[in-house]
């Protein structure tokens, strides 16, 4: 069946359940959907649908299932791994109209929300109850809770308060047969397998999330942030480990290197020390008593580890300023260079200095600058490679550089992605991290939910064939070409 034929059939079917303006298929209407936050990858979808009821979602998915057309869910499109990249033969299912907060239960400390609700909107809506939703990706003003669940997003406060998977209770999902399932519960556990965990971070490949019940936490009485400067990134890395060893779990523990400091300072004027090689932002929160007890302890540990200066934000305004610099680091770096490429490897904290050095060496080798800004407390690095896509071959070199960083992360005992997901971007790096039996197991999981591979096909888990072709893995005789690389 030709694409135009399929498109017509879909239009006919959708027009019976959706208003005309919720079905887009003209080229100019499709353009805004051609990429997510990873703009290096672009593809115009076959069409875009914008349902607003769960029944409509079910009906759309049933139709696609019948016609064997791929379905790609999309939230706000802020994803950084091309997870919401369309297919020319697929329907892009936007959850943008699912914007309602359905219920807030202050006593139970939960909120039931639609998937298109923005992350920050939840915290804003429950603030008057003294509550908030803890995971706070830097994109929180824009990204949706559905996208957060699909990526298991993290943020600055995840070290102490957990990732998305730790902060949700229940999901309603629609599987590829159009069936609606409720997984998890309003209780603390449910019988059977932990489908809630399996769905979290599954990148839209197992089901479409149509409702989320999140856990809410009480807003700490007090939060204070210390900014510590270092003349050496190694020392900053060691300070991170020492803070944790001292029994302190900061609410956030973030690192920025010289280039990132400069970019943020030029952009936000947070009063960052421009002569430092690295800064750490260490936020401590809790009751007033706790915070007052921990601040001097943390300051001492930082100084003992060679901090050249520690500065305690004097009030909430200065504290917000310190954080604003950090949270705007990506766009700030974006101002320094026509393009940047954000990596997301995670490593044991003890390897921070070592891997940062490797990145610096690679940066010289590829002659591409790198700004480092990351969640140091949990070892989640975000090297930002600065490049110019208009220079021929530079994107390819950047991608190669990025892949080498990820290999270094795997070698250091870490992972290729801490929070941004695999998407299309890191699919080849999956061949480095996993053996073929593990990849096959992932495919088997996918099949249990989506036997015809129609939900977001081609993302997150590479085919064995692809890995074999890449030469990253020999599947013919079970022998690996790089036996020296540690794999688990």
């Amino acid at each position: 069946m030709s694409t135009t034929n399929t498109q017509q059939q879909l239009i006919n079917a959708f027009s019976t359940v959706l208003p005309a303006d919720a079905v887009l298929y003209n080229a100019e209407d499709l353009h805004p959907y051609e990429c997510d936050g990873l703009s290096a990858f672009r593809q115009i979808p076959l069409m875009v649908v914008l349902p607003e009821t769960v029944e409509q979602v079910q009906s759309i998915i049933k139709t696609c299932h019948q016609l064997q057309v791929p379905v790609i869910a999309r939230g706000a499109g802020t994803g950084l791994s091309g997870g919401a990249l369309p297919l020319s033969t697929g329907v892009l299912l936007s959850l943008a109209k699912f914007k309602q907060i359905l219920d807030i239960d202050p006593l139970a400390r939960t909120a039931r929300v639609q998937p298109g609700v923005r992350n920050l909107a939840i915290s804003e809506a429950v603030k008057s109850h003294g509550l908030y939703y803890a995971p706070d990706p830097s994109s929180q003003i824009a990204c949706t809770i559905g996208g957060n669940v699909a990526e298991n997003s993290g943020g600055v406060h995840c070290l102490k308060y957990g990732l998305t998977v730790h902060n949700i209770l229940k999901l309603d999902i629609v599987t590829i047969d159009g069936e609606l399932h409720s997984i998890g519960s309003d209780a603390l556990d449910s019988p059977g397998y932990d489908l809630l965990a399996l769905m979290t971070g599954s990148e839209g490949m197992l089901g479409v999330i149509v409702e989320v019940t999140v856990k809410l936490l009480p807003i700490p009485q007090q939060a204070k942030v210390i900014m510590a400067s270092f003349d050496d990134v190694y020392k900053a890395g060691n300070a991170v480990a020492s803070i944790i060893s001292a029994g302190i779990i900061p609410a956030g523990l973030e690192m920025m290197d010289k280039l990132a400091i400069k970019a943020a300072e030029d952009f936000i004027h947070a009063n960052y020390p421009l002569d430092a090689e690295a800064i750490l932002l260490c936020e401590l929160d809790g009751t007033e008593i706790e915070v007052n007890e921990m601040i001097p302890l943390a300051e001492k540990v930082l100084r003992d580890n060679g901090a050249t200066e520690t500065r305690l934000a004097k009030d909430d305004i200065e504290r917000a300023k310190f954080w604003q610099g950090r949270k705007s680091a990506f766009p700030a770096v974006g101002r320094m260079s026509p393009d940047y490429y954000c990596m997301d490897g995670t490593i044991p904290k003890s390897e921070l200095g070592n891997v940062l050095q490797q990145i610096a060496d690679l940066s010289k080798e590829y002659n591409l600058p790198v700004a480092n800004v990351f969640h140091a407390g949990d070892g989640n690095m975000h090297p930002l490679i600065l490049y110019d896509a208009n220079i021929e071959g530079e994107l390819e070199r950047t991608e190669e550089f990025g892949a080498k960083i990820l290999e270094a992360c795997v070698q250091a005992g870490g992972t290729i992605t801490g929070e941004h997901g695999v998407g299309v971007e890191k699919i080849d790096s999956m061949c480095v991290q996993f053996k073929s039996a593990e990849l096959s197991q992932f495919h088997a999981i996918k099949k249990a939910f989506d036997p015809d591979t129609l939900l977001n096909p081609g993302k997150a888990v590479p085919t064995l064939h692809r890995c074999a072709e890449l030469g990253a893995m020999h599947v013919h005789d079970g022998k690996l070409p790089h036996p020296e690389l540690p794999r688990f």
Binding site: H129, L188, P191, D194, L206, P218, T287, G413, E438
Partner: protein
């Protein structure tokens, strides 16, 4: 400290070839949880040892047969602990069995469940393949979260070889306060308090008294204790550690019974369930133990309507379905997953559900 990976893998590979059922066993301390499962014994008891533990990483990796006792002792050296406070029920209890059953103790409602602290696993699936998922880092979204899926799967998806867990520092001080309350008032109080930023780490209600445990620095615990005592007429108790140990290990008199005990998991704020029989309420209202002779099917209906589920925890007739039956659509997904990991259906068949 021994690595039995090869022997265990051979055992399961042979079982897969011969289609014989395997009954996976660690310290056998959790044998009473779940449906009985027949099959040839595959023991992780000798697959032991802490593989890595670095206090500043907050990560511990251990072979599945390592006892909780050994792990707790190693963590205690650095003043750290397993934040989900798992019950042991026996000194032979292993970390593998703990994770397979997703068992968490009194701290569950405040710190999280066993599954929340699983960072990575190494398993043998039902085809005898050794697979590694997740890792030893705090954040990892490469591939589906097959590690957490193992928590609470009761060994029906894979034999756990190793687990990597997130650990946390222990608090300096513990204070428990006690207040006389009706069940409904207690449920309301504990949920109200949980909405405030306080160092509450456990709660329990029985015999008309609410017990609240605080864990933090001395000064912080004392301030919180004073604040709560003023609000609800309560007093600190003497034997805090003993009380929670009894609750954790179910050595409390409540559990000393021949009557059927139902484990009821409910939305924390649900009203007290007015069914005759003694109740003990934990987890801020989200876990309720009930001694009852009421037929379990009837109880399951009542509880399901409230958004919860019931396990036939102990002293029920042998043929009772242990866990609350699944909705039909969810059951189909379960069968699909079981088939994905264990196509011959040889791993702990029936332990979780008869059809798995």
């Amino acid at each position: 400290m021994t690595d039995q990976t090869q022997a265990l893998q051979e055992q399961i590979t042979a079982a897969y070839a011969n289609k014989t059922a395997c009954r996976i066993e660690g310290g056998n301390s959790k044998h009473f949880i779940g449906n009985p499962s027949a099959g040839e014994q595959v023991s992780t008891k000798n697959h032991t040892g802490i593989i890595s533990y670095d206090a500043s990483e907050l990560v511990l990796t251990a072979r599945s047969g390592t006892t909780l006792k050994e792990i707790s002792a190693a963590l205690a050296v650095n003043n750290q602990s397993l934040p989900f406070e798992p019950p042991a029920f026996s000194e032979h209890a292993t970390i593998g069995g703990t994770i397979a059953c997703n068992l968490s103790g009194p701290a569950r409602a405040y710190s999280g469940a066993a599954r929340d602290f699983v960072l990575g696993t190494r398993i043998i699936n039902g085809k005898g393949e050794v697979l590694q998922f997740g890792g030893q880092v705090m954040k990892n979204v490469a591939g589906y979260d097959a590690s957490r899926l193992m928590a609470g799967a009761y060994g029906t998806l894979g034999l756990l070889l190793e687990v990597s867990l997130k650990i946390l520092p222990k608090a300096q001080t513990e204070i428990t306060i006690k207040s006389q309350q009706s069940a409904d008032a207690a449920i309301n109080i504990i949920n109200q308090l949980a909405g405030k930023y306080l160092p509450i780490s456990a709660s329990c209600y029985f015999d008309e008294h609410l017990y609240i445990r605080l864990n933090s620095s001395q000064q912080n615990c004392e301030a919180a204790s004073q604040m709560i005592c003023q609000q609800i007429t309560a007093q600190p108790i003497e034997s805090s550690a003993e009380l929670w140990q009894q609750i954790l290990e179910q050595q409390h008199v409540f559990f000393d019974t021949d009557q059927p005990v139902a484990r009821i998991s409910l939305p924390a704020t649900s009203q007290h369930i007015a069914i005759t029989g003694e109740q003990l309420i934990e987890w801020g209202g989200a876990l309720r133990w009930l001694k009852t002779d009421q037929p379990i099917e009837q109880l399951r209906q009542t509880v399901q309507a409230l958004g919860g589920h019931v396990s036939a925890y102990k002293n029920y007739p042998a043929d009772t379905e242990y866990f609350q039956p699944l909705a039909s659509g969810i059951s189909i997904l379960h069968k699909g997953l079981k088939n994905a990991f264990d196509p011959a259906g040889i791993l702990n068949p029936g332990r979780l559900y008869k059809e798995l």
